[in-house]
């Protein structure tokens, strides 16, 4: 069924009896051309673009839980294209362009909202760094405006500008940045892939990868063995475990990142605001909740929950920046398992095993990458050549130590990116 305003009206008038399930629940076939391990945002986007761009539809996505139960359903939904380094710059720019056409392309309301992002700065040095970042964004063809303190005050009158800790000097404004509804992105890609014939198989955990003489032959799963000519690993926080099934060790550590949401409020924060000095960022969801977060807890974790000390730290930073939020009540907090790469940038590459491909290392910033990650990974899996927008996200950059993509100059420390 094609979705439209008229359809909503018609269904409303006829008792909402015509809505069908959005995707099928197929049994796994014994063999596929391509298996994607992981039904998060990136796995589903990969399957969608394999079908849409390359006509490959004998494809299955194997998900150990339910579609969208991983990080794609746990993130704070920020979408931006404000990277500096060659490699990342063109990749996130490519992703932004895909986001801008995604609702029409998927025929699905993903609530993509280009409400703008302001990255605050608090010193002359930080202003210079953001001016440079803004120039890099403009050079890449994206948008950036350097705001002084008064410019910021007009947009964000509720911040504490004179705070003694980090007085606000201004901000880098990225008008095309914003948010999207994370679950809807998952469901939109899932529906698009299913409609084109991809099998989405839930409750199907991959437990082994079959390799013969350096060539991938298929996978072992909780629902039996499935053969495949090509296999793509797209499992975010579980990257190291699944790669280990193929005997690989990755430049990845899994960490916990927490996020928080308040009760629903009337509209009050109409952009995304980031306060890097304090380790805090915030936006308001369309339901009205203030959605905010900060840094990693810092230690390796597969618990999908963090500790109180980081919750306190994030909330203190929020109170310092915008004292008004002290009146809001916090509703929930949660954590996700993020795949921190050694240089803070992702990997979209072939492996040394024929027919086995790897996509991961998204750290805490892979939601914005969802369309481009799927698009470029599908291109790589279908053609065996990297997409132009993702030529530098190679696994071997770690082995050689050349062309590392260390966006924040944090050095080779997984938990500092």
């Amino acid at each position: 069924m094609r979705y439209s305003g008229l359809q909503v009206l018609w269904q409303g008038l006829t008792g909402n009896k015509g809505w069908a399930p959005v995707w099928r629940e197929p049994e796994p076939k014994p063999e596929y051309d391509i298996i994607i391990i992981g039904g998060g945002g990136h796995g589903l986007a990969t399957a969608y673009y394999l079908a849409r761009e390359h006509g490959l539809t004998n494809v299955a996505v194997l998900e150990k839980g339910y579609l969208g139960g991983g990080n794609v359903g746990r993130n704070t939904t920020i979408v931006r294209a404000n990277y500096v380094l060659p490699g990342n710059s063109e990749f996130y720019s490519h992703s932004m362009k895909l986001w801008e056409g995604l609702e029409a392309d998927l025929n699905y309301n993903i609530m993509h909202s280009q409400r703008g992002i302001v990255n605050l700065f608090h010193s002359d040095g930080q202003r210079d760094a953001y001016a440079r970042r803004g120039n890099a964004m403009i050079n890449q063809g994206d948008d950036a405006i350097l705001l002084d303190r008064e410019g910021c005050r007009k947009m964000l009158p509720y911040l504490d500008y004179e705070q003694t800790r980090f007085p606000i000097y201004g901000g880098l404004y990225h008008p095309r940045g914003g948010t999207a509804r994370h679950d809807a992105v998952t469901w939109g890609f899932a529906r698009g892939a299913d409609q084109r014939g991809v099998d989405l198989i839930q409750n199907c955990e991959v437990t082994g990868i079959d390799i013969e003489n350096g060539v991938v032959r298929g996978v072992q799963t909780s629902r039996g063995a499935i053969r495949a000519k090509k296999v793509g690993i797209v499992v975010a926080g579980r990257s190291s475990q699944v790669a280990a099934m193929a005997g690989m060790r990755l430049p990845v550590e899994s960490h916990v990142l927490q996020a928080f949401v308040t009760e629903g409020l009337k509209p009050v924060i109409d952009t995304v605001v980031t306060y890097g000095m304090g380790h805090f960022y915030i936006s308001q969801s369309d339901k009205g909740g203030l959605v905010f977060g900060g840094d990693l807890d810092g230690y390796s974790s597969y618990a999908a929950r963090g500790n109180l000390s980081m919750a306190e730290h994030v909330i203190e930073a929020g109170m310092t920046l915008m004292p008004m939020i002290g009146k809001a009540r916090m509703l929930r907090s949660w954590g996700g398992i993020v795949d921190m790469s050694a240089d803070g940038s992702p990997i979209i590459d072939k492996t040394h095993i024929d027919g086995l491909y790897f996509n991961g290392g998204w750290c805490y910033g892979g939601f914005k990458a969802t369309p481009a990650s799927g698009h470029c990974f599908a291109h790589l899996m279908a053609t065996d050549r990297p997409h132009n927008a993702a030529t530098r996200h190679r696994l071997d950059r770690f082995t050689t130590g050349r062309r590392l993509l260390d966006e924040e100059a944090a050095g080779s420390q997984h938990n500092l990116h």
């Binding site: 990257s239 190291s240 475990q241 280990a244 060790r249 990755l250 430049p251 990845v252 550590e253 899994s254 810092g298 230690y299 390796s300 974790s301 597969y302 618990a303 500790n307 000390s309 050694a342 770690f398 082995t399 050689t400 130590g401 080779s412 420390q413 997984h414 938990n415």
Partner: protein
Amino acid sequence: MHINCPHCGDRDQREFSIRGHGTGLSRPKGETWSDDWNDFLHIRDNLAGRIQELWHHGGGCGAWLVVDRSNVTHEIFGTRLVSEVRS
């Protein structure tokens, strides 16, 4: 999370900072780039289970500790001083 410092006893995690994976103690000998350096800086087993990691008791005695911890449950099984592990 509480960490039991061999010097100070059971203390709140807020007094400590994480200093990375226990492999940080096995720095390669060579000065030039090699597979050993790639392994040391970048590559991790990243097991889900019991791991060894380095914590610094900056808000207490200042000691560096090797903490034996489950990254699945966050349970801590034991702590030792780096100075003792090394000797």
